[in-house]
């Protein structure tokens, strides 16, 4: 069923009787050409592109709970492609371009809103680093703009200019960055994939892989064995748990990242703002809530909840840079499991087991990557070769010393 203005009006006038479920609720078939484990943003996007771009007819997405219940359902909704390193920037720029056409592609309004993202600069060294990054972005075909302090004052007059511990000295803006209604991304991909025949199987937990002679033949699930020509894993924070079932250890740790939303407020923020001297970034949702976050808690966790010190740390950063939010109230906090990789960059690669493919290590940047991750993973699953924007995302880069370390923190996942 296609959504259209006409359809919305017609349904409004006829009591909304005609709306159908956004996706089917099928029973699993015995065998698929490709099975994707994980009904999050990345898994569903992979399914969509497999069906729509790579013409795959027999694809299933298997989800342990309800689709969109992981990090795509709880994040700070930011999209951007302001990366520094060659291994990353083309990929994230590809993702941003896919975001730009997403609604038309999916016939679903995910409210892609390119209101811009601004990284504030507080020191000369930071400016040098941001100039290098801005240049890398432009050289890779993205947009970047260096703003002076005066320009920042004009665009963001409510920031703390006069009583700041770390004065604002400028900013690096990406005007095409912005926010997206996160749940709608999962639902939009699910609906689009479903409409092309992808089976989305919810409440179906993978309990193991059937591997014979070094080849993966399918997955054992709570709904029985499902055979597959190829199996793609896209389970983010649960990557190690899942891949351990195939006997693999990963260069990934799971950490908790908290995020926060305030009560609804009339519009105050033009776009995304990132504080460069503390752990705080913020945007305002269409509903009016300030959506903000900061650092990960910093310890391995699957608990999907964090603790007070980071809450306080984030709010301290918020008050330092934007003291007008003191009387706004934090409404809700939540925690997600981040698949923190050893260099802060993701992996989209084959495994040593034939027919078994992996997508993970997104750290806390997975949401913005959703379209490109799905596209590149679909490419890998369909063609058995990496997509041109994702060639660096290999498992063996740690073995060979080709790390993609944006933050320069080395092999300590909680510092990325």
């Amino acid at each position: 069923m296609r959504y259209s203005g006409f359809k919305v009006i017609k349904e409004a006038l006829t009591g909304h009787k005609g709306w159908k479920p956004a996706w089917r609720d099928p029973e699993p078939q015995a065998h698929y050409d490709i099975v994707i484990i994980g009904g999050g943003g990345h898994g569903l996007a992979t399914a969509h592109y497999l069906a729509s771009v790579y013409g795959q007819q027999r694809v299933a997405v298997i989800e342990k709970g309800w689709i969109g219940g992981g990090n795509v359902g709880r994040n700070t909704t930011i999209i951007r492609s302001n990366y520094l390193l060659d291994g990353n920037e083309p990929f994230y720029e590809f993702s941003l371009k896919l975001w730009e056409g997403l609604e038309q592609d999916l016939n679903y309004n995910a409210m892609v809103s390119q209101r811009g993202i601004m990284n504030l600069i507080h020191s000369d060294a930071q400016r040098d680093a941001f100039i290098r990054r801005g240049n890398a972005m432009i050289l890779n075909g993205a947009d970047a703009e260096l703003l002076s302090e005066a320009q920042i004052r004009q665009e963001y007059p409510f920031l703390n200019f006069d009583d700041a511990r770390f004065p604002i000295k400028g900013g690096l803006a990406q005007r095409r960055g912005g926010t997206v209604r996160h749940d709608a991304v999962a639902w939009g991909y699910a609906r689009a994939a479903d409409s092309r025949g992808v089976d989305i199987i919810q409440n179906c937990e993978v309990t193991g892989f059937r591997i014979e002679n070094g080849k993966c033949l399918g997955v054992e699930t709570s709904k029985g064995f499902i055979g597959a020509g190829r199996v793609g894993c896209a389970v983010a924070g649960n990557s190690n748990r899942l891949m351990a079932k195939a006997g693999m250890r990963l260069p990934i740790e799971s950490h908790v990242l908290q995020a926060f939303v305030s009560e609804g407020l009339k519009p105050v923020l033009p776009g995304v703002i990132t504080f460069g001297a503390g752990h705080f970034y913020v945007s305002q949702s269409d509903k009016g809530g300030l959506v903000f976050g900061g650092d990960i808690d910093g310890y391995n966790s699957y608990a999907q909840r964090g603790n007070l010190p980071v809450v306080e740390d984030v709010c301290e950063g918020g008050m330092a840079i934007m003291p007008m939010i003191g009387r706004a109230r934090l409404l809700r906090m939540w925690g997600g499991i981040m698949d923190m990789s050893m260099d802060g960059s993701p992996i989209i690669d084959r495994t040593h087991i034939a027919g078994l493919y992996f997508n993970g290590g997104w750290c806390y940047g997975g949401f913005k990557a959703t379209p490109a991750s799905g596209y590149a993973f679909a490419h890998l699953l369909a063609r058995d070769e990496p997509h041109e924007t994702a060639t660096a995302y290999r498992f063996d880069r740690f073995r060979t010393g080709h790390m993609i370390d944006e933050k320069g923190m080395g092999n300590q996942p909680n510092l990325h």
């Binding site: 990963l250 740790e253 699957y302 010190p309 073995r399 092999n411 996942p413």
Partner: protein, 90 residues
């Protein structure tokens, strides 16, 4: 979280810096270790959903590094010990 320091009793985890899995103490023998050993040591993690042994540096306290055994699904801490064993004071 509260870490029950073997010498100082319960202390807030905010006084500590998390250093990672306790396996980091098992640095490969430079004489004998293979490239794979080094790769495994530096980059591969069990990352269990469950009991995890990990290092916490008491930066805001006595500067001890503690081995904390903690369940990553509940955050329950079942054991805490000093990474560097105390020397007997005879």
């Amino acid at each position: 979280m509260i870490i029950n320091h073997p010498l100082l009793g319960p202390r807030d985890s905010a006084e500590f810096v998390y250093l990672g899995a306790a396996e980091l103490m098992n640095r490969p023998d430079p004489e004998t270790a293979s490239a794979e050993d080094w790769h495994g040591y530096a980059y591969l993690r069990d990352n269990p959903a469950g009991v995890h042994r990990e290092l916490w540096f008491h930066e805001g306290g006595d500067r001890s590094i503690l081995i904390v055994t903690r369940d990553t699904t509940t955050h329950e801490i079942s054991a805490v010990e000093l990474a560097r064993k105390p020397r007997a004071q005879t």
